[in-house]
C-alpha cells in the first residue's frame, strides 16, 4: 500500500498540490484523474521521488520514502515499475534488450534465468514475435506493451502508469487497460494510474482519486462516480452531451 499524507508541492509561486492525503491499495487499480494542469503528473512524480515534496510524506508499506537517504530511496525504487506516457524505451536497444535492461543492471540471476524471465514477460504482454525489433519498428500499442514488460520484469510491488492510453486508439487502449488490470491482480501490485481517459475510469477504476485545483476533491470507485453528488467531478467525467445522456440512462 502507498499512502500520501498531506502532500504539498509548489513550483515558485505556483502551488500545484495543496494537501493531498490518500491511500493506494494493493491488488487494485488506483486511478488519479483530473483536468490537465490539475496536478496528476506532479502527484505521481512526487510519489516516486522525481520531485521532492514541500511538505507531507509518501509512505510505502510503512516506510517513509520522503525522509529516506538516497541509498534507501534507491532500494525502494527497485520495487517500483513505471510506464511512461511516451514509453521512454531506449531507442538504441531492441525490445528484448529494453526488457532485459533492469535484469542486467540489478538482478543476480544467471543468463539463462534472465532469458527465461524476458521470454516470460514478453509472452505475458503478447509480444513473443517482437524480440529483435527496435522500438521504432513497432506500433504505439506494442511500445506500450514493451513499456509494461520492462516495468514488471523485476516483479515490482508498485506500478505507476502515466497516461498509459495517450496516443492509442480506443480498442488498443482497452487492451492496455485490461493488461494492466490483470497484471495488478495476478501479482498483487499496488498500481497507480494517472489518466483522463473515461473508458479507463469506468472500466478499471477500483479506487479513483479526483484532483481538482491541487486538492483531493473526491475519492471512490467507478460505480460510485455515477451516484456522486460532486459537481466538479460530474462536470469533468460527463463533459460531453453524449456521456451526460449515457449517465442518465445508466441511473
Amino acid at each position: 500500500m502507498i499512502e500520501l499524507q498531506d502532500i504539498y508541492k509548489s513550483f515558485g509561486e505556483n502551488d500545484v498540490l495543496k494537501g493531498i492525503t490518500t491511500e493506494f491499495l494493493p491488488g487494485k487499480t488506483n486511478l488519479i484523474i483530473g483536468k490537465s494542469g490539475s496536478g496528476k503528473t506532479v502527484c505521481i512524480k512526487c510519489s516516486i521521488g522525481l520531485f521532492e515534496v514541500n511538505k507531507g510524506a509518501v509512505i510505502y508499506d510503512g516506510r517513509n520514502f520522503t525522509i529516506m537517504s538516497k541509498s534507501e530511496k534507491k532500494s525502494v525504487r527497485k520495487e517500483i515499475g513505471m510506464l511512461f506516457q511516451g514509453n521512454a524505451l531506449f531507442d538504441s536497444m531492441t525490445v528484448e534488450e529494453n526488457v532485459r535492461f533492469p535484469l542486467d543492471m540489478f538482478s543476480k540471476k544467471t543468463k539463462a534465468e534472465k532469458n527465461a524471465r524476458v521470454d516470460e514477460v514478453l509472452e505475458r504482454v503478447e509480444l513473443e514475435e517482437a524480440h529483435k525489433k527496435y522500438p521504432s519498428e513497432i506500433s504505439g500499442g506494442m511500445q506500450k506493451r514493451v513499456g509494461i514488460a520492462r516495468a514488471i520484469v523485476l516483479q515490482p510491488r508498485y506500478l505507476f502508469c502515466d497516461e498509459p492510453n495517450s496516443g492509442l486508439d480506443p480498442q488498443t487502449a482497452l487492451v492496455i487497460d485490461e493488461l494492466i488490470k490483470e497484471i495488478t491482480i495476478e501479482q498483487n501490485i499496488t498500481t497507480v494510474i494517472n489518466t483522463h481517459d473515461m473508458n479507463s475510469v469506468m472500466g478499471i477504476g477500483d479506487n479513483i482519486l479526483f484532483i481538482h485545483e491541487g486538492h483531493k476533491h473526491w475519492q471512490g470507485s467507478s460505480e460510485e462516480i455515477l451516484t456522486s453528488r460532486n459537481q466538479e467531478l460530474e462536470d469533468f467525467i460527463f463533459a460531453s452531451e453524449f456521456l451526460k445522456k449515457l449517465k442518465n440512462q445508466q441511473i
Binding site: L50, R77, P102
Partner: protein, 245 residues
C-alpha cells in the same frame, strides 16, 4: 550568479561520476560502446583532416623559406613539431568538439526530453554515473589515440605535399623529422589530448543532461556544447602551453 549555478551543477555532475557502479559489467559494456562510437566513428574524419593540415603546413612553410638561407629539410622539422605540439591535439579536438560533442549533447538531451533519463532514475540507476561516466572515460581513452594517429598522418601529409610540390625530397624531409626530437613534446601532446577530451565530453554531457523543453532546446544545447567546449579547448591550450613549455 548564473555562471556560479552552472559551474556548481557541473562540478556536482563530475563528482557523481565517481559513485560505485550498480553493475560493473553494464558500465563496461557502455564504455566499450562509447569507445567504438567516439574512436572508430571519428577515425576517418580525423585522419583525413590531419593529412591535409600537415600538407598545408609543409607547403606554407616551404613557401616562406624559399630563396632564404634556411635549408629545406627544416620543413620536416617544423611540420613535426607543429603537428605534435599544436595542430594534432588542437585541430583534432576542435573537430571532435563539433562531431562528438554535439552528438553527446543531443543524445542526452533527447533521452531527457523523452523521459528515458527519468526511467533509468526510477529503476534506481545512478544516471549521471551511467550515462556520462563511460562517455568521458571512453573519450579520455580513445581521443589521445586519435591525436597520436593525427600527428603521424600530419607529418606524412607534409611529406607528400613537400614532394608533390617539389619543395623538399623525401630524404631531406626525413632528416628534418628526425632532427633534435624532444620526447617531452609527446608528453605535452598527450596531456593536451586528455584535457581536451575531458573538456569536450563533460561540457557536452552537461549541456545535454540538463536540457529542459523539446527539439529547439536540444538544438540550442548542442550549439552551446560545441561553442563552450571549443572556447575552453583553446583556453586550456594556452594554459598548458604557458605552463609546460
Amino acid at each position: 550568479m548564473k555562471f556560479l549555478f552552472h559551474f556548481g551543477r557541473y562540478v556536482n555532475m563530475i563528482f557523481a561520476l565517481f559513485k560505485k557502479p550498480e553493475r560493473f559489467r553494464m558500465y563496461w559494456k557502455e564504455y566499450a560502446r562509447q569507445m567504438n562510437n567516439i574512436g572508430v566513428g571519428s577515425l576517418i574524419i580525423v585522419a583525413f583532416i590531419s593529412v591535409f593540415v600537415g600538407a598545408v603546413t609543409a607547403i606554407q612553410f616551404a613557401y616562406q623559406i624559399q630563396g632564404s638561407a634556411i635549408p629545406m629539410w627544416w620543413v620536416g622539422f617544423v611540420v613535426r613539431d607543429t603537428m605534435i605540439l599544436e595542430l594534432a591535439p588542437t585541430i583534432s579536438c576542435l573537430l571532435l568538439a563539433g562531431k562528438v560533442g554535439s552528438n553527446i549533447s543531443s543524445e542526452l538531451g533527447s533521452m531527457r526530453v523523452n523521459e528515458q533519463i527519468d526511467a533509468l532514475q526510477i529503476m534506481g540507476v545512478n544516471v549521471r554515473s551511467y550515462l556520462v561516466g563511460p562517455k568521458i572515460l571512453a573519450a579520455v581513452t580513445v581521443i589521445p589515440m586519435l591525436v597520436i594517429i593525427a600527428a603521424f598522418l600530419g607529418v606524412y601529409g607534409g611529406l607528400i605535399a613537400g614532394k608533390l610540390g617539389g619543395y623538399v625530397s623525401a630524404t631531406e624531409y626525413q632528416l628534418g623529422v628526425l632532427d633534435e626530437f624532444n620526447p617531452h613534446y609527446i608528453k605535452l601532446m598527450y596531456i593536451k589530448a586528455v584535457v581536451f577530451a575531458f573538456t569536450l565530453t563533460s561540457v557536452a554531457a552537461y549541456q545535454g543532461f540538463y536540457v529542459k523543453g523539446g527539439a529547439i532546446e536540444i538544438g540550442e544545447a548542442s550549439t552551446r556544447a560545441v561553442v563552450f567546449s571549443s572556447i575552453l579547448i583553446l583556453a586550456f591550450d594556452y594554459l598548458i602551453a604557458a605552463a609546460l613549455l
